[in-house]
């Protein structure tokens, strides 16, 4: 109508202004970007899903990272700000690459936490490595990301590390436990047609088959919520069902439907299933890359401090590794700052200090350091819990 042209002009002007405002998100030349001012506020972005299906995990990670920055900053003489970079799982792994760009251009970013998902690492790692940014993931467990003899390195960089073991450790750990402790002779493995569960399922299946266990492999879509027909395919005499889902409620539903149809198999979940509030079927097992940190000496103060900042949140398993990752990064940055006499000329220099970092009394128990031969902790361990009658998790290995 009569104001159409004017409307268009106005909107184009607003678009230009808005685009210009996003330009404010960090513009400087390459050299200026790479230098970090140690006395200013150092930004550590956390690339994790903050909304969407993976949101609860990401927010838990964010809360622990923030707590680490707050509590460890003064001792290391660093002012660290944790910034969230949302990479929802629904957007696919390519989103991490895009969000990473935002932080690559920011000169106050000295290192990156995450990406939290294995797919995110695969897509963003190359750019991050080229930018010289150290990135430590607290939760990307895909075996393909490992460097060294155990894994095929598809994501190249020397800049990527993780504070937890890879799935190539978790799968066999679970499988061995099933055979040795649970004496399973017939196991059903379910995968959800996405990289995490398929990777774990394959690893576990290989070990089980090698030990002569009868394995039935089932596959369903990650959107499935009604498992009744899948349950029908579970043989009546199966001992264990390996169910590595990342949605614990689905494991609970599956377990209930198993009971409903009179099957006696024991449920066995992986680290994604670890959630006492959602998966609480007594007698089931869950494996995890972190032990129950409340049982570890020295964590009482950390837990209390975190709870004070997050009164409504419950203790999960994704947070503590993030605390550790933040701690390691901050320590490396502090060393780089000291070596550079109060400033870092090029953030790639932070990478030099990573292998030398030793964390005594780490939040995950014991002393933490990286292995000499790959980008993972030395001797990564996976912990297995059994769900008790009252729903609590008890460590059994």
């Amino acid at each position: 109508m009569k104001k159409r042209g004017g409307l268009v002009i106005a909107l184009v002007v607003i678009a230009a202004a808005a685009l210009a405002s996003t330009a404010g998100a960090g513009s400087s030349t390459a050299d200026r970007i790479a230098a970090v001012n140690c006395s200013g506020t150092i930004k550590l972005p956390l690339l994790t899903p903050l909304t969407g299906g993976g949101g609860p995990i990401g927010n838990e990670q964010l809360s622990w990272a923030k707590y680490a920055a707050k509590s460890l900053g003064p001792k290391l003489k660093l002012k660290v700000q944790i910034v969230g970079g949302d990479t929802p799982v629904e957007k696919g792994p390519g989103e991490a690459q895009k969000v990473a760009q935002k932080f690559i251009s920011d000169s106050q970013v000295a290192a990156v936490l995450g990406p939290a998902t294995s797919g995110g690492v695969a897509s963003a790692s190359k750019s991050l490595a080229k930018a010289g940014l150290l990135h430590i993931s607290p939760s990307a467990t895909d075996s393909a990301l490992a460097a060294g003899p155990k894994g095929k390195r598809t994501a190249s960089p020397v800049a990527f590390y993780r504070v937890v073991g890879g799935d190539y450790v978790q799968g066999p750990t679970d499988a061995n436990y099933m055979v040795s402790a649970l004496k399973a002779k017939k196991v059903v493995i379910v995968d959800f047609q996405e990289p995490y569960s398929v990777g774990l399922a394959n690893a576990a299946q290989a070990v089980l088959k090698a030990k002569g266990v009868d394995v039935t492999r089932l596959s369903t879509s990650v959107d499935t919520t009604d498992y009744s027909s899948l349950v029908t395919k579970v043989p009546n005499d199966a001992n264990v069902v390996f169910f590595p889902t990342q949605q614990p409620e689905d494991a609970q539903t599956f377990g209930q439907q198993l009971l409903e149809q009179g099957k006696r198999a024991t449920m066995f979940g992986a680290d994604g299933t670890n959630n006492p509030a959602a998966f609480k079927l007594p007698g089931s097992y869950v494996s995890n890359f972190a032990p129950d940190i409340s049982g570890i000496k020295g964590n009482a103060a950390r837990i209390a401090g975190w709870k004070k900042d997050n009164p409504k949140a419950s203790l999960g398993s994704f947070g503590p590794p993030t605390y550790l990752a933040t701690q390691v990064e901050m320590m490396a940055i502090a060393r780089a700052c000291k070596a550079g006499g109060g400033s870092i000329k090029n953030r790639a220099s932070v990478l030099k200090y990573i292998r030398g970092i030793v964390v005594p009394n780490s939040i995950l128990g014991g002393t933490f350091r990286f292995s000499k031969s790959n980008n993972e902790p030395v001797n990564p361990k996976f912990y297995i819990f059994q769900i008790q009658k009252n729903g609590s998790y008890k460590l059994v290995n």
Partner: protein
């Protein structure tokens, strides 16, 4: 529940194997009926609206999810599933009633503000508007409640009574919950049939779906009839949301898949036909259960879609529908 050590499976006789097959069949049929009755309720919502407006209400699936969430909120208000303040049967009744009422109101609002202004616009317009509403609802739920899955945890109600009480056919245990779901769905369908065929407004609705202009000329208030259709359809959607959430967890973006399955069912049965929607829902539920149980869960979704497309191509009016004749 630790695993029992076993010395190896005993050799199976023909009878045990046959009995096992029959049991599997019964179990799968039960699964199919449970799924199907919920799909039927959703399909009815689509059919009612399509019959009158010739509009595919893409937002319908998300109305179902809203119903599930309203029910969840009500459940929390009444004390949660382990220790509710009212007996379980009353709890379920209250949850369903609130969800149905809430969804009916939502349906009326959607019709009034997103579809009615577009009644005379080209047919593509309300479809796109429906897409927008669907998106808006799904992400509003996510905004307000977060994207975690929500579980009614019917397992804990009355110490698992809903799961462990029931009767058995052979070795197959049929729990109370499934009986409840199937019976409730059928009861609602009977009520709907009654409302559509035996009341004046229902008959007005049928007349309007035949020919809107003629009905208007006969003195039928078309706007009211359309609102009535939306109220019925959305109330059924709310009920479907609660019934489905009693058994499986729900999450904000579930509406898309639910909607897809629901109007698959409606199309199979013949969109625009009420008995068609009921039949289509049951057929879809059974087809899903059987393909998952007998063929493979990996490809069952694909199989359903391919069947659908074949039906659309060779009998687009579905099983019970009338072929669409366009008058020039």
């Amino acid at each position: 529940m630790a695993a029992r050590p076993s010395a190896g499976p005993p050799p199976e006789s023909i009878e045990t194997r046959l009995a096992a097959r029959v049991d599997t069949f019964i179990q799968l049929t039960l699964n199919g009926l449970t799924l199907g009755s919920v799909y039927a309720l959703i399909a009815l919502g689509y059919t009612l609206v399509y019959g009158i407006l010739k509009l595919l209400n893409f937002a319908h699936g998300d109305v179902v999810t809203v119903g599930a969430f309203i029910g969840f909120g009500m459940l929390q208000l009444l004390g949660g599933s382990t220790d509710p303040v009212v007996p379980v049967w009353l709890l379920l009744l209250l949850i369903s009633a609130t969800a149905m009422a809430g969804c009916a109101a939502l349906g009326v609002a959607i019709e009034r503000f997103a579809y009615r202004p577009l009644r005379d616009a080209p047919r593509i317009a309300p479809l796109i508007s429906a897409l927008g509403v669907s998106f808006f609802l799904a992400y509003s739920l996510q905004l307000l409640f977060g994207s975690e899955q929500r579980d009614y945890d019917a397992f804990s109600m009355d110490n698992g009574a809903l799961f462990f009480k029931g009767f058995s056919i052979g070795a197959v245990h049929i729990p109370l919950l499934r009986i409840l779901v199937i019976c409730a769905a059928f009861a609602l369908m009977v009520v709907l049939w009654f409302l559509v065929n035996k009341t004046r407004t229902g008959k007005a609705m049928k007349a309007t779906s035949f020919d809107r202009e003629a009905a208007a000329m006969m003195g039928i208030d078309v706007d009211r009839v359309i609102v009535f259709a939306f109220v019925l359809g959305s109330a059924l959607a709310g009920a479907a949301g609660v019934l489905s959430a009693l058994r499986v967890p729900t999450y904000p973006s579930a509406g898309f898949i639910t909607g897809l399955k629901g109007f698959t069912a409606a199309v199979i049965g013949g969109i625009g036909s009420i008995p068609g929607a009921m039949a289509g829902g049951l057929i879809l539920g059974l087809a899903e259960a059987y393909t998952q149980g007998y063929i493979s869960t990996k490809w069952s979704d694909l199989a359903v879609f391919v069947i659908l497309i074949l039906i659309m191509l060779f009998r687009p009016q579905g099983l019970f529908g009338r072929p669409d004749i366009t008058k020039v």
